[in-house]
Structure formats: C-alpha cells, structure tokens
C-alpha cells in the first residue's frame, strides 16, 4: 500500500471540498472494500478522506411515506432497523445474505453501492484488466469466468457487481442522493451503476468529487410478498452466482405489479421493465414466471465457464417469484430453499 495523506472531513461540504478535484482522492467509511483493494495495489489513493464523522447515520421516514437512509448507516443497522424489517423486509434479507456480520457491522450504505467487482483479474495487478488499467484488455472473456456476467457485457469487460443490498434497492426503486462540487442531485437507482461499455473503469455515474449522502426508498416495500434468494458455491459468506430480489403486489392470484432484480449476472443490479410487464395482470404461477424469466434472459450470453448461469438464473427467477407469491420468503439462516 502506498502512503497517502489521511484527512478527516467534518461535514459533507468539507468532504467534497477535500477531494479538491484530485482524481486519486478516496472517501473511506467502512473501509471493507477500499482497504482490501489498497492492500492489493488495485486502488492507490494519495489522499484518503475519512468521512465517518459526517452526520449521515440516520434512518428516518420521509414525508411521502418512504424511508431515507443516511449513507453512513452500517449494513447491520439498516438490516435490523425496525422500519426496514417491517416495511422493506426484502432489503433486510438481502443485506443479511451478503458478507459476514463483522463486515456488515463495518460496511456503510454508501460504500456498499460503490463496491467494486470481485473479478480475479481486476484484483490481480499482474494480469491485464480494462477495468483496473484501461486498454490492457479483458482477461476474463477468455479466462476463468465462472463468476462473470451473462447480460450487459461488452468486449471490454464482463465483470459483475458484487452487492446483495443493491439488488434489493434496485427492486425497490430506490434513489441515490449525492452532493458534489456543483450541488445536490438525485439519481434513480437504475441510473446509478453503469454497464461496462467501452469504459469499464467507471462503475457508476457519480461525477468526480461527488459523495453519496443518502439512499431513499419509496413507500412501496412489498412487505407481504417478497423474497431475496441467493445462490452461491457455499451456504454462506460467498459472493452470488445468481441472486434475486423479488416483490409482488397481488390481487388474489393475479399479479397487479411484479418486480424482480438480479445480482451476480451483470455489471449492475439487473432489472428489466419488459420482463416485469409480462407479470402484470397474469396469474401468479410458474408459467407466468417462466415467461418473465425468458424475457429477462432473452439476450443472455454465456462464456466458457458461466453458461450454466443462464439456466440457473431462469430457475432462480421462477423459484423466487414463487416464494414471493406464496409469502414464503427465503430465510438467510435456514438453508433449505423455500
């Protein structure tokens, strides 16, 4: 790890000011991802701005009936927050499906959005990687790509976003509140993360100097019909092969509104309005869910080691929507799949 200047920010404006247009400045909050990447020499900031003292630790209801989550709220606090457990249980479940309790105690809400990919080539500075070092090539396309993307890939990058929490936030139509040198703005969750395209080094649409201050959830939480289903290579403490957050609004057996977002299959949490449109007004049954899955996966493309994910994703969608319909959400501690 190269040395850096360590500074503490006193408030949001100070934090933004401290970046001072320096592309090698980084905010640190939980540190669980940044410090790991710094040890691996993947991130080499020359200035680290400690934002842990900023007043961004509140979880509070919004006037419109939603919930505003401060960017520094630790993952565990968010998952266990009474309002989240009551109104957005899918978010609690998604958070508890990720990492370990120690990491969740440290990791912040904003930091979770900014997690970088687990692609082994990204992590290993001895190998080419366009995301880490633009223009060097993607080692994963012809390499070990079991964990890689099947949707939204490019010739430059097939990495996936590793977060579980973000998958649920995507499904819930969250918005991301950011502050930057030119003021505040609100970014819809779907527009926050990017597809790799020809600039895979950019994970998000944050501008230089911008800081996440909050994530806001709209009122609708799908508390009665939801699930977070995560499939991985061991039963806990592993990144997703495929994960899905699903929520249904039912009228009897008929779907009034259905939403589902997937993790582990793309450069961003993946949601497809066309697939959700398939659900609307249809009976909540396997046939409907399979049709929706087929739409979402219509352009899926596998690589040497991850083609199975297309089939797995299809099965996960059907299963998860079934769990949501039956109101039997997946438990994150009891490992039998509901």
């Amino acid at each position: 790890m190269i040395n850096f200047q360590y500074v503490q920010a006193t408030d949001v404006a100070d934090a933004v000011r401290q970046t001072d247009g320096d592309p090698r400045a980084r905010f640190v909050a939980g540190g669980t991802n940044l410090i790991d990447l710094m040890k691996m020499e993947v991130e080499q900031p020359t200035r680290v701005i400690d934002i842990t003292r900023l007043p961004l630790r509140q979880v509070e209801p919004t006037p419109s009936g939603g919930l505003r989550i401060g960017a520094l709220v630790p993952n565990t606090d968010l998952a266990y927050h009474p309002l989240v457990e009551e109104r957005y249980p899918v978010l609690s479940s998604a958070i508890m499906a990720g990492a370990s309790q120690q990491l969740r105690n440290m990791a912040s809400t904003g930091g979770n959005l900014l997690q970088r990919t687990r692609c082994a080539y990204f992590y290993d500075v001895a190998t080419p990687c366009n995301k880490r070092t633009p223009g060097t090539g993607c080692s994963a396309i012809e390499g070990l790509n079991r964990g890689h993307a099947i949707l939204g890939t490019s010739q430059a990058c097939i990495a996936v976003h590793p977060s579980d929490m973000c998958v649920a936030m995507m499904m819930l139509d969250a918005t991301v509140h950011v502050t930057g040198p030119t003021g505040d703005r609100v970014v819809p969750f779907a527009d926050f993360h990017r597809l790799p395209g020809d600039a895979p080094q950019r994970d998000t649409n944050l501008n230089p100097g911008e800081i996440i201050t909050a994530v806001e959830l709209p009122p609708k939480g799908f508390a009665s019909h939801h699930t977070y289903l995560k499939i991985r290579d061991r039963l806990s403490y592993a990144f997703a092969l495929v994960a899905i957050a699903a929520g249904l609004d039912l009228d009897g057996d008929t779907i009034k509104e259905g939403r589902f977002a997937l993790g582990g299959i793309a450069h961003k949490p993946w949601r497809d309005p066309k697939a959700e449109a398939v659900l609307r007004g249809q009976p909540a049954n396997a046939a409907t869910f399979t049709r929706a899955a087929d739409v979402l996966l219509r352009d899926a493309r596998g690589y040497k080691y991850n083609t199975f994910k297309i089939d797995l994703a299809r099965r996960c969608i059907v299963r998860a929507l079934g769990q949501a319909a039956r109101a039997t959400p997946q438990s994150q501690s009891h490992k039998k799949i509901a």
Binding site: D14, I35, T76, Y80, L103, Y237
Partner: protein
C-alpha cells in the same frame, strides 16, 4: 534469562507510543498549521495521532496512517491474541469488538478508531475469570490449532450481544464469518449454546 518460548522481552518503547494508560483529551492532536488551514486536515507529515481505548486502557499513539487496527494491536501494542489469517476480511481471525460490535480489525485503519473502545481477546476475561464463552470453548473442544479461536470468541461475544441468534441455524449463519480450517464448527455452535444458556 529469557525463556525463548516467551520470546525476548518486548520493549514497548517504540517511537509511536507516546503514552499508555494516561487520561488525555479525546480530540485529535492536530499540527498547529494544519488546524489553521482547515479544521479537517491532519498530519501532512504522513504520521497521524490517534487515541483509542483498548481493553479499558487508553493509548495515544502517532502512527503511519496505513496501520490497520490489527497491526496496531499486534505490532505496536504486543496484543498478539488477535490473529492475522488473511488480512483481507475473508477469515474472521482478526475479529475484535469495537464499542461492543464485532468487526474485522484487518480492514480498517487504526486512525479511524479515534475515541473508540476496542475489546480484544485479551480483554474478554474479567479479572482472571474466563468469560463463559472461553470456558465453553474449552469444555466443548471448540478449537484445535487455536489460531482462529480468539476471532471466534470475539465474534461469539458480539453475536450474543446482538441477541439475534436463537437457533443452531442462526448461530451457524451468524458465525459464518469466522473460518475454522480445523473444522471445529459443530463444537463451536455447541459452546455458544452453552454460553447462551448461562448468560
């Protein structure tokens, strides 16, 4: 004569230790110039001051900002009970309690823990009496090589404080951030259940 098994006598006279055990103000010690320039700039020289309480003792140190909490404990304060198994947040051997919550001490800069209260394995036993978890781990043989054990114990203490785990399934899931390559997991779960019964 020093017994080599205990190692040469440790000299906590390293330049980074300014004071230990003394009561000092919690506020960051800022270089005068820095404070004038911006209230938030600390130590452009590359070394930074930090004050934190570990197992009830306050320590004030000036350190390389890159120093992780784990390395601060092991290399600067000779609190080697906290273990380094991966240094990447992947094994849990470095688990300590920060203000009562379990965290991975390897993935955090010590300087960020200004004013916090850290409990390590050395601070788990109260006054020479083993913590119920420590006794339960011995009773159930919940370890073999012992290297993951301090992390398992601190993690289990955090788990009990959280109060969320009631069933064996929940204990297993919430202890999954602590890898035991010797494979003592069933005994670890049994030990935690024993300790929960007592507390």
């Amino acid at each position: 004569m020093t017994d080599p098994e205990d190692g040469p006598t440790f000299h906590p006279t390293r330049r980074d230790v300014i004071a230990a055990g003394a009561v000092v103000p919690i506020a960051m010690a800022l270089p005068p110039g820095a404070a004038a320039q911006s209230p938030s700039v600390a130590a452009a020289s590359g070394r930074v001051a930090v004050s934190l309480t570990i197992n009830g003792t306050q320590h004030v140190l000036t350190i390389d900002p890159r120093t992780t909490l784990l390395d601060l404990l092991r290399e600067h304060l000779d609190l080697t009970g906290t273990k380094k198994g991966c240094d990447q947040g992947q094994c849990g051997a470095c688990t300590v309690l920060s203000d009562g919550r379990r965290i991975n001490s390897c993935l955090t800069f010590a300087v960020m823990f200004e004013g916090r209260h850290i409990t390590t394995i050395e601070g788990l036993a109260a006054g020479g009496t083993l913590h119920p978890l420590q006794q339960a781990f011995i009773d159930h043989d919940a370890f073999q090589c012992g290297y993951c054990t301090p992390g398992q114990l601190c993690s289990a203490a955090g788990l009990m404080a959280e109060g969320r785990a009631k069933t064996p399934d929940e204990i297993r899931e919430l202890m999954s951030g602590n890898i035991c390559r010797c494979g003592a997991y069933p005994n670890i779960v049994a030990a935690i259940q024993q300790a929960m019964g007592r507390s």
